[in-house]
Amino acid sequence: MKATVAANSTRNVEAQAEGIRPTLVQHIPFAVWLIVPAEIVLLSVVVFPTLMSLWLSLTSWTPTSGVNWWQAEFQWLANYVQLLFGDERFRAALLRTLLIVVVGVAAEISIGLSLALLFFDDFPWKKIAISAIILPMMIVPVDAANAFFMLFRDVGPVNQLVRILVGHPVRFAWLSDSNLAIVPILLVEIWQWTPLMFLMLLTGLMALPQNQLRAAVALGASRWQLFRRIILPLIAPVVVLSLVIRSVEIFKIFDPVYILTRGGPGTSTETLSMWMYDNGFVYFRIAYVAAAGFLVLLVVLAYVLLILRPLSRRTAAER
């Protein structure tokens, strides 16, 4: 990181040479000083532990092993190999997390976009309706998970509603049936974050060049043609952005799993974060978890780059 700072300052000198900051000439170090406090915090709390974790992931260290972490026994990539090829439970958690990401994001974006389109036109009470719909995203996630826990209990209102719908008593064991337990977890994510997608996409829709839409209408486009040929291509960058941001967030899913099922029953709802929590804080397999953390980071980075690349290429072309 030190190297980065040094590189940054030379870059700044170049920046001045290019005249990006004229008044800077008189205060060469000023620009660097500005980011020092933030940098100290990030270095000590994020970058240092990350580097430490990189070291640990190459060792077999646990707190119970009796040696200091920096003296741990080095074992190359053994942890990674074990994770990828030997650990069924880890792989299951990884796949489960990916499933939650795909289903959750798809649902959030499609519902969010539909809702945003509904709110594209003006109608009475629109502001109040928006305020109501975005309420879930403001709830403390732990409280949201608890609320869903209450809803999905055997004797909770969800079962009662299902009963009213099907017409005879049912008792789905939502939280203790290993096939069903994933449903409330997904639902609480969708419930809490669809409003964000809705708000993002609505903001995007409102920012669309109004005259392009009007032009399409004046040229005779039907409602569907307007959506398909004009709105969708224009809103695509916002959709991709939503996709990236939500995917990254859901990848980290922890609070609802911890509150609703703690990964259970068995390991049927165990996600990556839950897996890491159990292995790290319950079984103290620190080195092993560190390796898993790096794998996950790589997966997330690859995912983000994969999605963002076509987007940035397109915006570059438009400049």
């Binding site: 001045q16 290019e18 005249g19 004229p22 008044t23």
Partner: protein, 381 residues
Amino acid sequence: MSSTGTLRVEGLTKRFGRTVAIADVSFQVGDGELFTVVGPTNAGKTTTLRTIAGLETPDGGTVFINDRPMNAVHSSRRKVSLMFQNLALFPHLSGFENIAFPLRNARMRREEIQRRVEEIADLLRIGHLLDRLPRTYSGGEQQRVALARALAPTSEVLLLDEPLSNLDAHIRTSLRAELKRLHREFGRTIVYVTHDQVEAMSLSDRIAVLREGRMQQIGTPEEIYERPANRFVATFIGSPPINFVPAAVVEDAGGVWLTNAWLKLRAPAHLAPALRQHPRDSVLVAVRPEDITVTPLATGDRVGDLTVYAVEPLGAKTIVDVKTPDGNIKAIVRRSWEGRPNMPVTVGVDERRIHVLREGDEEFLPSGPDRAAPVQTTSAG
């Protein structure tokens, strides 16, 4: 009130990455002069101004104010005022505080500031704006307050960046005259940047024409208009722009002629010597629209090559667009000109007022000193 100074810019060069914003720009502005830098977008006008103000560091060249080099002086101590194109009024400060801002920083006494701001506000008739925030102003009012802020401090050079842009036509016309009157009364040294050649012509003591970062010509408005240095200046100054008509140089016993299929001009005395050196060359004849007369052909006349393409009445005058075999030319004719599109016409050119350049050249052929001034007349409607 008047603290003025001279400005000298020598070989100013500024690059942004690989693009060259200005290249080797030099000029001198005398004490109390109103000097305009005019040019199209990306000419480097704003960069020039910002470099003088110290907001950009030049890659080469020096800025002198009162003969002192300024390159190492921070912009807060250069004693220049800059009126930004987007005005950059402080949105959170009242009109009074905006105008007083430079004075407070100069540690002027409180009563003195009060007096000074009120004096300037009177002058620009913005007394009623002093207690209000800029967001409540109209476009013209914002412009005036920004101008007042630039006028308030005792700066040696006043830099104005497109101060009249974004205004309605009528307000612009009247503010323009007002600015000129203000300058006459207070004699401040002003560098005025604009893309509008009309503004440059009407306001300036001298004009510098800039294109793609390079200086094209420096001179009084009359010089620039009557004796443009090159093709670009001739085209850029004047509206509708000057016409270029291809012709060949022919010399016979009668003298030197410029001819093409539809036009035969006797080369005027001030151009003849230069043209004689280029016999049979292809040249372009540059004619201002007001130096062209257009006459409809009477019925029965042989139909010529020239027809009216469009007639554009402007009220006091009319622009006629004439279609020629070599492209269209525009002429300014009197208001009640009777002609309609597709009508055959003949065209006359005041040959004493033409410029000539060789095809492919940018610079005009040199002309002698006896170029005719426009005919003196009284003005009548």
